[in-house]
Each structure stands twice: as C-alpha cells, then as structure tokens.
Assembly symmetry: D2
Homo-oligomer: 240 residues x 4
C-alpha cells in the first residue's frame, strides 16, 4: 500500500532569489518530491503557500499520511488557523518531517514547546552526519557517516526537548556539532526533524539526503494504535 | 542557600465553592505553601490571579527559582502575555511544577506541544501511586507506593510527550492507570507534572504528597549549565 | 518479503506439568508460533532446549530475523555459550521478543544490565493492559486497553533500565501496576519485553496477545543502519 | 553532609610507563582525587588494584556513595567477584562515574548490556565538548563548550544503550563526533559515563574536566527512593 506524502514548501526564495533558483529551478519542493517519487512506496503530491488554504486545507491534510515541511523566510505568513489544522492532524496520527530552517516554523515550535533556536553560519563548508543509532530504520541503506560538501552550519545548543530517538549527529568544519536527526512522538503522530537543506546548496539532490527523507517518511507512516477517547469516563472495572 | 518558591493558584473554586472551602479554608495555594514552609530548604511566597499581573509579573518571576501551578476552571483567564512570561522564564532556567488539573493550563500545553487531554472521573475512590524509578530524587523518603484514600481518577491515554523520566504510575480502583509523575527538560528549565490534587479532597494536606512536591522543588531548582547563545556564530575552530 | 521468526521455548513445564499441558497440549512454543503463522508476514519455525545447541546454534540464529523467548524454570540450563551467541546476534541486528517469565532469563539480564526482578503473585485474576503510546506500531489494531481474565500478577518495581519506549502499562486487581510493554535498542538490534504469558493461563491463545507479538515482530524486524566499524580509525576528515 | 567518594584506578600504566608517569607522577587516581578534594562537598579516598580485594571489598563499597572508575589495560584482571560486588552496590543505590577507557571495563559492559565498543585514534589533537543539555546539573559552571588541546579521539558509533540523558557531545579535529557525557539509571543507582581522560594527556588536571567530575559526583549521590521489595507479594488492595 503506497504512502500518501504531501511535500509542503513556503515557495518564496526559490521564486525570488536567483541563487536559489539556480539550484532549484522547479522549486525546493519539487526536488524533495522527486526524491520520494523515485521510490514506489510513495504517492507524492506537493503543496505550497500559493495553493488554497496555503496548501494546508482540511481535505489535503485528511488525505496525507506524511507531511514534509520546508520554510525559511515566511514562517509568520502561515496563518495560525493553518498551524492549528496541521497540529491537530499530527496528534491525530499524521507523520511530519520538518526540514532544516523549518526548525523555526510555527508548527515545529508548537509541537516542541521550546524556542527551537540554534547557532548558524552561512559558510558553505563540509558537514558530516554520523549515524549514532544504527538500529533505527531511518538509517537504512546509509553508511556509518555521510558528507555534504557544502552546507550552512547549525550548531548546539539546539533548543528542543531531548529527542525520543537521536539518529544523527553532525560534525562541522568550524568546530560545531548538532543533533541533526531527532524523532518525537506527539499524540498518535510522529515527528522527525532533519537538519540539512539550505536553499543555496544542492542538498535535496543528494542521494543520502533523499534516502533519509524516504526512510523517515516510511517510519512516520508506520501503523499505530487506536485514537484514544478522552473526557469523563465510567469505570473500566466493575465496582468493588 | 534557600530555594525561592512561588506557589501560584488561580484562586477560584476555593473562594466560590463551599465544598472546596471546607477542605481548603485558606485556599489551595496556602495548603501547598504550608507543606513547603515546613522545609528549611525553601523560601516560599504565594501568588494568585488576584495579584497584579495575575501574580506572574516580571519581578516575581525573576525572583522565582521554582513555580508551582494549580489551576482548574480559569485557565482561559490567564492572559497569553502572562503565559509568554512564564514560558520564557522556564526556558531561561526556572523550575515549574504543574499540579493535577493544571494539565490543561495554557503554560503546560505550551511546554508540551500536545493536547494534554486524559480520562477523568470524580468518584472519590482510592488512588495508589507506585514509584517506578527508585533512583530518582523525587522519590526520596517515600515508600514503594502510597495511597490517597479519595481522589479524582485520571486515566490513560494521557496525551503528553513521553516523559524524560517517569517517576510514578497510579493505580485506580476503577481499573485505570496513569503516568502520575513525569519530568521534562525544556531549554535550561525543568518541568515536573504531578497528578494528585483534586480540589474537593484533602490531597495537599497529605504528608506523602507534600514530600513529593518538596522533593520536586529541590530537583527543579538544581544547578544547571550556562544560558546558550543563539544566532549567527563565528567558527569555533580556526579555519583550515 | 517474509520475516523469519524463530519461536524459542525452554520446553519444560509444558512437558512435565499436567496443568500446563492442559492449556498448551502442543507446548507453549506451538501456541506462540500458531499466532504468528496466521499472519502472512512471517515465516515461522520453533526451537527448544531439546534441539541441537539448545535450538540456538549459529546457523539457526544467522537465519533468524526475530527471536521470541519463553523460559521460566530452566533459565540456568541455558549454557553461557548459547547466551553469548544470542547476545552477539542481537547487537548484530536480530530482533528479540522476551515474554513473561523470560524477564529472568540470562539473555534478558545480560542485555538489560540490571536484576530484572519484580513482584509476582499467582492468583489468576484480571489484568488490564493500557496503551500509553498510541503512536507506536506495536499498538496497531488494539483498542485503548484490553483484558486478560486470568493472569499471574507482576508488580512494580520492575528492575529494568527505563524503557526507550513504554507502550503498555498493566493494571491488576490486587492494586499493582506494571510497565508491561517496553522497547530497548541494543547495538543494531531491538528488544521488546512483553509481560503476559503465564504457563497455566491461555494467554497465548488470546487474539490481542497474538496481535501484540506479531506487531512486535514486525517492529523488531524493521530495516536498520549499517553495522558500525569499531577500533583504531584513520581521520575521517583531512588534516588541517 | 559530605559525599563519600572512592576514586578507583587500575594503577598500571601510571606505574610502568614513563610517559604516563610524567603526566601523573602520583598516579591518575591522585589527580582525579585532587580535583574532588578541592571541593568541600566531598570526602575522598582512593583505591586501586593493589589494595586488598582490589580496593573493591564490601566494607569499602558499603561506605562509598559514589565510585569513580579509571581502567585501561587491566580490565580482565578485575575478578568477576569484584565486578559482582560493584554491580550489586550500583543497583542498591551507589553512584558510578566511568571515565574514558573504562568504557571497556567489565562493570560498565555489565551495566550497559552492549559491547561498549567505539572508534579511537591516539593523535593528541583537539577535542571540543559541547553542552547539549544546559538544564543538567552536570553542566553547572561550564561554558557552552570547552576545549581539551590534546586528547585521544573516540568516535561514533559508541555501542551503548541510548543515554537516559545526553549532556555532552564531542567534536574532534579529524571529523568525528562522540556522545561524551551520558547518564544512565540502573536499579536505585545512577551511572555517568564521561569520555575524556587519556593517560598520556593532562586531562585530569584540567579545571573543566574536574568540574564535570565533581558535578557528576553530586548528581550521582543525590537522594533517591526506597529500596524496592521483590518476590512473591500479597495483594496491595483488599480483594473484591
């Protein structure tokens, strides 16, 4: 059974900025989607802020098993009502993969409960991502580490809750480290944060990055338990 | 060095409801504060929604190492600006102890990122709390389990993130269980959720409950690391 | 692709004890295996202490994706060399599902590093298992809770490391609770401990229990990362 | 109340190897002990393999709140009976701080349940340790990161269970990262693994390293719950 993935992007710098368009002529979302489309497990569509309801309407979300999120300069332009809908769908069981600068998106901050702040530096140097949990399905098909020749640096402290599962830790040439692959469970849903993806670098064309996103989508779409019933409850066991 | 604790309460049912006033004639906050005042480690003050800035002004928070929170029917009456202040102080290093019906407070939901919903039943039956992590300082001085003869039931599923540390699990006569003592780290701060405390029961007069709250205040006030610096950063190591 | 499951049992009380044979005439292992055989995802074989190398030889283990373990009165009769082999295979990536009294098996104690002790009582009363993590695939297809009409009681404190993921918490009529479904990652392998399964009760004929074991086998067999290389290593990045 | 710390060392290379003696003329244990003795919270003694019962007799352990462990070339010379005693005392509530090459000690492998293997390289280059959990008391008094100018490299994958709390992540000049400060709870006890400390480098004279070890000793000695009772148990609640 194929997994219904919606690749969402704010669709801004890849329209307005020549340097970004040079790397992602069809938009960042299309590069992410292309990686997933190469994998038979997925049925992929894209959505952006230019679509009705910012691409985050009820019908789209209801038909989405896993949502991937890329945003950077337009976080505030996503209306709170759209954030409310995505939040509710995650708690309801949807998977969410938050990429790179999405750490500062409203939805990620809402789900984490922290500032989600970090250190950064746009110096286009090497990042090496190490697998620190080889038992995790998100590491399937990767080597022990892999390199991105040019990436923006993100450094600790990364102000998120401790990951439920820490899958990757990044090394940067400038002396920094970063918890680059973090899983979180929220309600019936699952969230994966993945660090790489700066808009001026060809990160989403990289086969290892594509592999991680596909693995994460499979992990986030996995089966799960029944939706709990909340509220006033009669005794589960007969009275004594 | 004494720990500065502020005991906050919405101060509503213990004013308006005779059944609650019978149990807590001076207010729920005064019962919680009395338990802490009996312990030399603490310098205790109380604050309620009747105080300036809802008792949550910058000066109070800046002078608070640990804030305890009791609220039930007036969560929405706490202004978002007050929630913003408390949230910022937690990330900045303040300890926060959220009690019972505070699970639905704005500040707890903000810090958890989930609905914080649960099952409940006001049947005034027995609750037995089991220590599931005897290595934890919050269990100091308790037996393996302790009983509250009359409490409201809270049952799973409790829609919070997996606890960083699970200290207590409750058993209820009606067949339910509940993760009753949960720690969370958020930024430089520490959060402890503790389940008992229904307003019509003498829970905050109970010596074991008082012990847990005192232990939790010590744990939440513990030393911690430096406040991180976020934002654009120069390399930590010299360039190659 | 089917998942190769080996159902292992010490095969002792279900041979010697009439009360156990009445419930499991073909052996406990055959009841567990029957549950898995009803699911097309699995290719199931059984192994017991009566087989060569206690059923735990290198060839069997090498051809096993997930091993389920039932033992009770003969833990010490499993040779340390067999435990060494299973331990190595778990770190190498095999899944391991430890059932009920297997908490005291050599292999579980080896993997946990603790005493794995607990409280118990053979009173054949009700157990109710609550799903506390509905996002987990091991809860797939279950309700919010399910009941076993007659089971041995296991109570806290359960001396295991904090679970990486806590899936079930049990309620017992006698006032006890228990962390009944715990996942652990060890090396490239994954371990699931599942509490129910006393030899005098028809637990392994129960459809919910069978569902949990099948779900756990799928979870434990999931894809994972490359086997790490250890030891003396050349620099991963060129010298400065 | 002072905390009784026993600083244990295998006492081998700092006797036989001139290069080690040049850095630690009184032994590695004395350098570690000197750091702790400068702090009024501790009552410090040392113990080595040259002492009766390898320095790990019942009387010593019974009178030890926190044991620090340094070993490297003589792990196998510690008798299993001594390991059994230390293991039992940890589960009973003793704190244990395992340093550097102690990752391969029998006691650490016993408590972790994994191979505890890793990558290493003796190239005497820079290590930078980043605080990834500023809420943790073990980070008290440190900056966001600190540097050791010359250290042996340890690189991922580090084959330990996921840390209960991850406090430090190291960056190495050769491109590696390492989870350098990991806490674990085992029974009533607490374990902290801290990476730095190669015998040919003056690591244990470093003020930040001494600070971490002192913080960890305070954390590991913290109050805890009652020792659980295990075994056959009568009902906690009256029968229905």
């Amino acid at each position: 059974m194929t997994i219904r993935v919606t690749v969402w992007s704010e669709r801004r710098q890849d329209v307005t900025d020549d340097a970004v368009r040079a790397v992602y002529p069809d938009g960042i979302h299309e590069a992410i989607a292309a990686g997933l489309r190469a994998d038979d497990d997925f049925d992929v569509r894209t959505a952006t802020r230019d679509d009705p309801d910012q691409g985050l309407g009820d019908a789209v979300l209801a038909d989405t098993a896993v949502l991937t999120w890329w945003g950077h300069v337009a976080h505030d332009a996503v209306p709170d009502t759209a954030v409310d809908r995505v939040h509710a769908r995650v708690l309801d069981g949807m998977g969410l993969i938050v990429l790179h600068s999405g750490h500062f998106s409203k939805i990620f901050k809402r789900l984490m409960g922290t500032s989600c702040d970090l250190k950064w530096r746009e110096d286009a140097k090497r990042e090496r991502l190490w697998v620190v949990d080889p038992s995790h399905p998100i590491a399937d098909g990767l080597g022990e580490s892999f390199v991105l020749e040019q990436e923006e640096m993100y450094g600790e402290h990364f102000d998120v809750p401790p990951a439920d599962e820490l899958v990757f830790v990044s090394w940067f040439e400038g002396g920094e480290v970063f918890r680059s692959g973090c899983t979180y469970r929220r309600g019936n849903g699952r969230v994966f944060y993945f660090r790489p993806g700066h808009e001026t670098h060809p990160t989403y064309h990289d086969p290892n990055v594509r592999r991680v996103i596909a693995n994460a989508a499979r992990w986030a779409a996995g089966p799960r338990g029944a939706r709990p019933v909340y509220g006033n409850a009669r005794p589960s066991e007969p009275p004594r």
